[in-house]
Amino acid sequence: MSDAGVLETLLRRIEAADGGVDSLETASVLGVDHQVLVGAVKSLLALEDLISAELRSSKHWELSGEGTEIAEQGSHEARVFSSVPPEGLPQTELMKLSFGKIGFSKAMSNKWIKVDKTHEGGPRIFRSVENIEDQVRDKLLLVQKGNTSQLEEKEKNELKKRKLLSEVTVKSYWITKGSCFSTTITKPETELTPEMIANGSWKEKKFKPYNFEALGVAPDCGHLHPLMKVRTQFRQIFLEMGFTEMPTNNFIESSFWNFDSLFQPQQHPARDAHDTFFISDPALAHEFPLEYLERVKKIHSEGGYGSQGYKYDWKIEEAQKNILRTHTTAVSARMLYKLAQQEKFTPVKYFSIDRVFRNETLDATHLAEFHQIEGVVADRGLTLGDLMGILHQFFTKLGITKLRFKPAYNPYTEPSMEVFSYHEGLKKWVEVGNSGVFRPEMLLPMGLPEDVTVIAWGLSLERPTMIKYGINNIRELVGHKVNLQMVYDGPICRLES
């Protein structure tokens, strides 16, 4: 009978039946293997509410192959007994018999036979009792006849252990009509197809319900790096505020532009080999605006422009040393110098976000290189209040509205302010950036007009990114040890939220 045939016959039987049908019974009636019928039941069950099936199971004991043999021919031990003639049998002969080995030990333990080891011609077996009762066979015959209940549980288990009996579980289904019972089968469709749309068959069809609990298939796509996503947002903020981007694509800088032009004295600890990467090749910068260099030398060693200066022996050799820039302010210095060379001063707003390098001891939050965000405004008559106002606007765009300023020290800004914001999570004020007004000792030697004030601020790109994306170890964010899964899973960057 074909599978479909079985399904149909089964459905018809269910329809005809009063109450329900039993799968075992049906199988035997239909003359098919029970497993085939079970298969039919399962495929009908997959159709919503067509039928319902209750699993029933019953256990009964059956003889194993060996058990059947014993029931027919007697137990091994009994067969051993009966093969031993009164005059005895050499042990070797007995062992040649198919049941010899197994039956021998059992017959021995039943004390039905004995062995004369000293017998000439090798050990010889003799009967030790007249008659025996083959209980094993008797028990098995009972089972075979279906009178299992007469055996004790212990006896059954004993026989099971000897693999003569086995307990067989027979499962069957009690099949009844479902709420949507019908004798015709319509399989639900899994998906809408172009054909269905074309011939309108979708109107008649049933569709298999979707599992909305499961996840969808991940799209095959590339990803932007989280730190770069944050950088994009910071660029956006600066551009929204009318700031022009500075060309910071020069990692190698001379000490002159990185330190001296910023009025950072040559003995300053930041200029130590412990803090700064010096370059061995090309070790020295070889081109400077010479007049400006002279003015820088003078302001350091003698003072001027209303300043006392640092009063030390300023050396060009120190200024010439090439380094990996320690801050992007070196570029700001170049830009401001360039601005000062214009015939007429025009106000500017500059920004940059780029790499800087520090030869520092590394830990979970410090790397030898990081990205510095810097903003600079140069105009006539800017005030400290203006700096605070711009910082307020800038940080508001980052979602930070509560600011506080702490006086600080920086060799090239005066006043200098550390910017703190109130962290709702930590319930305390945390430093979010540094800011200040560039010193006249830095600006005036460049040739900027005296009434021009330059305000600036800076922060690192990594810190807000680590906070934003909940990253504790900076190495998981920057560098080759990045966790790509984190990059794949990263959300879009909205700083203000």
Binding site: G222, G242, N250, A273, L324, T361
Partner: protein, 833 residues
Amino acid sequence: MPTVGVKRDLLFKALGKTYTDVEFDELCFEYGLELDEITSEKEIISREQGDSKASGASDVILYKIDVPANRYDLLCLEGLVRGLQVFKNKLEAPRYRRVSPLSGEPQKLIITEETAAVRPHAVAAVLRNITFTQESYDSFIELQEKLHQNICRKRSLVAIGTHDLDTVSGPFTYTAKPPAEISFKPLNQTKEYTATQLMSLYKTDSHLRHYLHIIEDKPLYPVIYDSNGIVLSMPPIINGDHSKITLKTKNVFVECTATDLTKAKIVLDMMVTMFSEYCSQPFTVEEAEVVYPDGQTCIYPELAYRKEKLSSDFVNRKVGINESTETIARLLTKMCLRSEVTGVGDEIEVEIPPTRSDVIHACDIMEDAAMAYGFNNIPYTTPRTYTVANQFPLNKLTELLRQDLAAAGFTEALNFALCSTEDISDKLGKKISETRAVHIANPKTAEFQVARTTLLPGLLKTLAANRKMPLPLKLFEISDVVLKDDTKDVGARNSRRFCAVYYNKSPGFEVIHGLLDRTMQLLEVKSERGDGYHIQAAEDSTFFPGRCAEIFVGGKSVGRLGVLHPDVITRFELTMPCSAVEMDIEPFLGHPAETTLTHDVPLHEVIKHHFPSQVPNSPPTSTKTVFGDVSSAAGLKVLDDFLADKSYMEGFEATQADSTMFDAIPSAPSSTFPHLLRWYNHVKSFLRERANLPSAKSQFVLEEDDDDIDLFGSDDEEDSAEVEKLKEQRLAEYAAKKSKKPALIAKSSILLDVKPWDDETDMAKMEECVRSVKMEGLLWGQSKMVPVGYGIKKLQIGCVVEDEKVGTDLLEEAITAFEEYVQSVDVAAFNKV
């Protein structure tokens, strides 16, 4: 930022007020200080050395306060209290006075000329009739240490010595002597040492060894004697034990020796202003006379009060407030800058005390006024600065490109600009000399030896660190590399690169090639020779032979792509094939309409310095070239042939290679060499700017004594020899490794799917049966139940087998023997271990 530790209760007693931690933190914040930590000696020891060591240590509360690096007057309890008390209007700033000794001459410190070569400056002063307590004594010692660490730059610029004046007698002599001739009992030692012995003694001293280098290699060491030849100190290392100060010391002689006189004066002023408070005449300091080798004398300490005049308008204008002249004068006075309104307009006369060496310009005074006003009381304002924003064109291009490369299915990586020499050379199969790399002089680790010259190693390392991620891995980076470039003022420049890698079971050259095509499409460059782009086979030791191509745009090479060399893949600890593309993106910038900014310094003021330059400018006199001797017709003929299809010696622009070759040719070639003549005349036109030409990649002209170098042939030979050598070395290493290991037993790890008959089968029992299979060389591993449907589960069980002893069919047979449970056994996975 220096940190000062003070005892909290002592501080509050001196301030005359008890604060809560929060209140004191607020006060610090306002004053530009930071209450960094609240701790105790016990806590510090316990943290650093463990609880057992801390028992018995003091648990007096300590405040660790961060002080701005230029405020040396706040580096001790005395100064902090004075500053804060004046700030809170509880105290008027004291006036420090220099006085003559009541009787007799001032103490004299005579400097001899021998000091000139080692430590030429010295200043001195006397604290007369001082009374120390344990606390003030500790503070006195601590301040010296703080000054030494900060303004004194670890004693290199200035070193302080303090002495019990009553144990020595002036005049004192500051001289310099050969170390063997200096002998004295140093502080806290029991016997005399010569200076030479001291230097080796202190080699192991955790504190003093950091200062030895300052004088160690000098022929003469500085030393101060009293009139009886007693050694006061051997600056900047150690004082003599004889004159050490104690709690009982009444009169202190303070000397500062220095290489920087300005700083020595500041340091002396700090020492005496801070502690003259404890003299019988508070805030007076007894002068000392310093006699210079030329006979000149100076009186110290200077304790100079400097007067500056500024207008209140200046302060209001700079800060953004509107306060009266009187208010501003009062604000400044709060900051220890005694100020008076002069009455001339809005003029204020500000007196800068000797303690405020940080005030060097009117802007410093303005800042103090702002601090006294309270930074957080200043109203926020918005400047009216009108500007139009511009993006840096290169960054704009980068930003746009990044978005579309991610859209092309590649993931952005972000790698360090610094790396090891090996990363950019050996590991890529290149020589470091070929790289134009910028080298770092003082790297702390091998990770920072050079600035990267290519983005490829970073991406390969990112792949290696993420090997466990599902394949394929597709990464890209657009970032800067750094190359030496003589035309730049610093001798180096950044170059913006685009690099991408594809890592999978097959090399996927077509994927990388496709990405290049897509990139060119994005950059509006057509695939065509001439103005468009094309790729052309190239040789590159980083890539697998025959699998590398050079990318040309408008006839100029911009980069390369290809399948990486297996050696490169292995060196980066990768196991799969990998293809890569790397190219310059600056050539695609075009000419943006926006004003381009440049950090190049305007040229009208630039004057070239004649510093030793990297490239020798003198033309080589040799006529020997790789083409033969160009003074001979034969050599010229070869060169003529070489130039037949070239405009320049190398590349597509004039370089130093052209310039040197030009010099090598003795005279203008005849017209029998038409190509050579054309080139010669062309290069001649560059003569004036030849110094600015880009440097040469290859050496065409040979030096006289170098004629055996075959520059064209040698590279390959050397390379292959090197490769051969490397291979041999590897083989040897492998053999060595092998010989050390016990004979390997071939093993396999097998994952079996064991299916039961139905959902009623006792799975635990089945597993038990499976595990009961025992064979020699079979080890069962972990298992799990995997649902297969209809409530039926299958048993998935792992095992490790020795290939020679256990076969899968043997195993299957053994398991299917449990036929009452097992329906079938399949090998789900089979891996050689």
